[in-house]
């Protein structure tokens, strides 16, 4: 099972180390992680996606909550959360018509084109991991030279 955890922590040096170390020492997995400062610079928000069974995920949340540096730990409800990831693809251009096809594919996924060169095109896509995977699948036929991804970041929708 996949879970998105949103963790508010004190914005101090060494906290990322402690959080990731907890995952290692408790034998949990990190699928992706993203960190940034919140509207209050005293705090940062980490978004961690993890994989485990129901019992393991409940344990991860409790162990994170127990950490003194964590202020809030929430397991986000996937259906009620906006979650996005940014991915950059460097895609191979082998023949002139590839360029147009890559452009078409990018616009179908609301992706942006950067650095269009004769032999490669860089595409930036911000979407769900599922959509990014779908895009990756379609881009494979041109040849993917490099990928860089940010990991998921997420916020829960407001109730009202």
């Amino acid at each position: 099972m996949w879970a998105i955890l949103s963790i508010k922590v004190e914005n101090k040096p060494g906290i990322l180390f402690k959080v990731t170390h907890l995952f290692r020492s408790r034998n949990f997995n990190i699928d992706s992680i993203s960190v940034g400062v919140t509207q209050d610079p005293k705090f940062s928000r980490m978004t961690i996606t993890t994989i485990g069974d129901e019992k393991q995920i409940a344990q991860i949340v409790k162990q994170l909550d127990k950490m003194i540096d964590t202020i809030e730990v929430h397991r986000l409800d996937e259906n009620n959360t906006v979650y996005r990831e940014l991915a950059m693809f460097k895609i191979k251009v082998s023949k002139p018509e590839d360029s147009m096809e890559i452009n078409k594919l990018a616009s179908a996924y609301d992706a942006k084109i950067h650095d269009a060169k004769k032999e490669s095109i860089m595409v930036e896509i911000t979407s769900t991991p599922h959509q990014i995977a779908a895009f990756e699948e379609l881009a494979k036929k041109f040849g993917i030279l490099e990928i860089a991804r940010t990991g998921i970041t997420a916020l829960q929708r407001s109730k009202h």
């Binding site: 180390f17 344990q59 909550d65 127990k66």
Partner: protein, 559 residues
């Protein structure tokens, strides 16, 4: 004032009267201020011993014990002691010197990233970068170490931060946004727990170390007596309940009492208090929880559901929760008598095993010598143990009568813990006899603490059950490895009588019960540490024995 002075004043404000430690280059400014302060310094011969002494002090006084070490190897030597305290939830504040801030990360002489190394072994750690931070981190450190589920806190102070001038203001209160150790007792869950206990046919209480940490002895005893529920303990919880009480069955687990293990597996409902369901206590997790309703009371929410599936969870300080439980039981007049099939069965099983467990036939068998020790020790005496066969024999044959007087490295299982911890315990309670029940292999690891015991006037008794070997490993090699004995023979080296005498301690060899009795009495009256060397049969096994990875039902018994 300089940072080192601020540290001493802050420690004094926290009520610290003694620190265990060893000086070195990076903590000299601290030692210079220690020289000027009223805090007593207890010099050790190895930093690991300082950590164990602070640990023993903390477990007995329930206030953090303090240890000092220098940077680099001084700090890494503390690590085993810090990890031991963490595994057994013991309050401790460890203060290390660090290389100056500008040298951190430059692989300086005696530099180690102790904050990084200790991270998984501490409850929390601090590395101040200015002297002004010191009072606040001391205040916070003590608060974190001793509240909620206690544990070790590390203060790693760079040398220049100790030497630089700063303004000293000791905070009146602690504010840590992500730390809320106190939760209100969960009354609806306590009600549910009582209901479950009252409606179950074969209830049992499993008391863990949490009962000892929160001193919930009276509350536990009231509940057991009002509801006539038999009490087993974990090994860490040994002595949470008087072991001469008619409802006491003793510790369960790998080397638990036969009656305790048997009745634990027959129970249909357990009130588990302040325990983390360690594999050494419960055997295989799946088999333990089969047909068993678990009520789990613990201060640490992360323990709920970690190893066992619970029917009712009661999060909160166990003493506070048990107090409410006692009140509810009294209010609803829910007392029970022992006129029921389960109570009768419990007594039959207990009587059977107390009469029929086969013991070693020799004069100096483990059961005999430990029962002799019990007979001669005043009930308020504090006992620590090392790790190995002697520890498990102590669990089986040394009955704790006054709750909270028995301490052992149960979680990390640190050989060499018992002797320095006994010295720490003696520092906290100089008014009572302190005995380290030891094995020769463990004692070897910290025997140099005899110097501290003698020179610092902290006399303890080392009850050295000597089988000239690493006995527990030898037992496993006999049991599981077809007697392929390797790496366990310690020979008759050293001579423990001479060793003790060379430190100015008293050394006595006891080869008969008469000699043992005289030696114990002499130790109790001695002004210096006493090592009682008790040679035993190296082939004596600890039984019963639940093999690792099996259930409590599969006990190996003496044949």
């Amino acid at each position: 004032m300089i940072g080192a002075r601020a540290l001493m004043l802050s420690l004094e404000k926290e009520g610290v009267k003694e620190v265990f430690g060893l000086p070195g280059g990076a903590n000299l400014p601290m030692y210079d201020e220690l020289y000027k302060s009223n805090i007593r310094h207890i010099l050790v011969r190895h930093e690991q011993d300082a950590a164990h002494m602070a640990d023993g002090f903390g477990r007995v006084s329930r206030k953090p014990g303090v240890c000092f070490a220098t940077s680099g190897p001084g700090a890494t030597n503390l690590l085993t002691g810090i990890a031991t305290a963490q595994a057994d939830s013991a309050p401790m504040v460890a203060v290390t010197g660090q290389v100056p801030v500008a040298m951190i990360g430059k692989d300086a002489f005696q530099e180690s990233d102790i904050i990084g190394m200790a991270n998984p072994a501490v409850k929390y750690s601090y590395q101040p970068r200015t002297p002004e931070e010191i009072p606040e981190i001391v205040k916070q450190g003590f608060y974190i170490a001793e509240t909620g589920r206690p544990g070790p806190v590390l203060l790693d102070i760079p040398k220049d931060v100790q030497q630089n001038e700063g303004k000293f203001t000791f905070p009146d209160e602690v504010r840590i946004p992500g730390y809320h150790p106190w939760t209100d007792p969960d009354i609806p869950s306590i009600e549910k727990a009582i209901q479950l206990l009252m409606t179950s046919e074969k209830p049992i209480i499993l008391a863990g170390g949490g009962v000892i940490i929160s001193s919930a002895f009276a509350e536990l005893q009231s509940i057991a007596e009002m509801l006539m529920i038999p009490v087993v303990t974990t090994f860490k919880g040994k002595g949470a309940f008087p072991e001469n009480h008619p409802l006491s069955l003793g510790p369960i687990g790998m080397h638990g009492h036969a009656e305790a293990n048997k009745l634990m597996t027959e129970a249909d409902c357990v009130l588990a208090i302040g325990t983390r369901f360690s594999d050494r206590s419960v055997g295989t997790f799946e088999e333990f929880e089969r047909n068993l309703k678990i009520i789990h009371m613990d201060v640490d929410p992360a323990e709920i559901g970690k190893n066992q599936t619970t029917s009712v969870a009661v999060v909160g300080d166990v003493q506070a929760s048990l107090r409410i439980m006692v009140k509810m039981i009294i209010k609803k007049s829910m007392k029970k008598s022992d006129d029921n099939p389960w109570s009768k069965h419990v007594n039959e099983v207990k009587d059977y095993w107390r009469e029929n467990l086969k013991l070693h036939p020799g004069e100096m068998g483990a059961a005999k010598i430990l029962r002799k020790l019990r007979e001669l020790l005043p009930k308020e005496s504090i006992v620590t143990t090392e790790v190995g066969q002697h520890q498990m024999w102590a669990s089986l044959f040394y009955d704790v009568i006054q709750p909270g007087t028995f301490f052992s490295s149960t979680g990390l299982g640190t050989m060499g813990w018992g002797f320095p911890a006994a010295i720490g315990a003696k520092t906290a309670r100089p008014d009572v006899p302190v005995v380290d029940i030891a094995g020769d292999g463990s004692f070897n690891m910290t025997e140099h603490s005899l110097a501290t015991s003698v020179l610092e006037d902290l006399p303890v008794i080392v009850f050295l059950i000597n089988n000239y070997s690493l006995g527990m490993v030898a037992q496993w090699q006999r049991t599981f490895y077809d007697r392929r004995m390797i790496g366990i023979d310690l020979k008759k080296c050293p001579d423990y009588v001479k060793l003790a005498e060379s430190y100015g301690a008293q050394g006595i060899r006891a080869q008969s019960m008469d000699e043992l009795e005289k030696a114990i009495k002499s130790g109790l009256n001695s002004d210096v540490a006493t090592v009682i060397d008790i040679p035993i049969d190296p082939e004596e096994d600890v039984l019963p024995f639940v093999a690792p990875g099996t259930s409590l039902k599969e006990m190996i018994l003496p044949s």
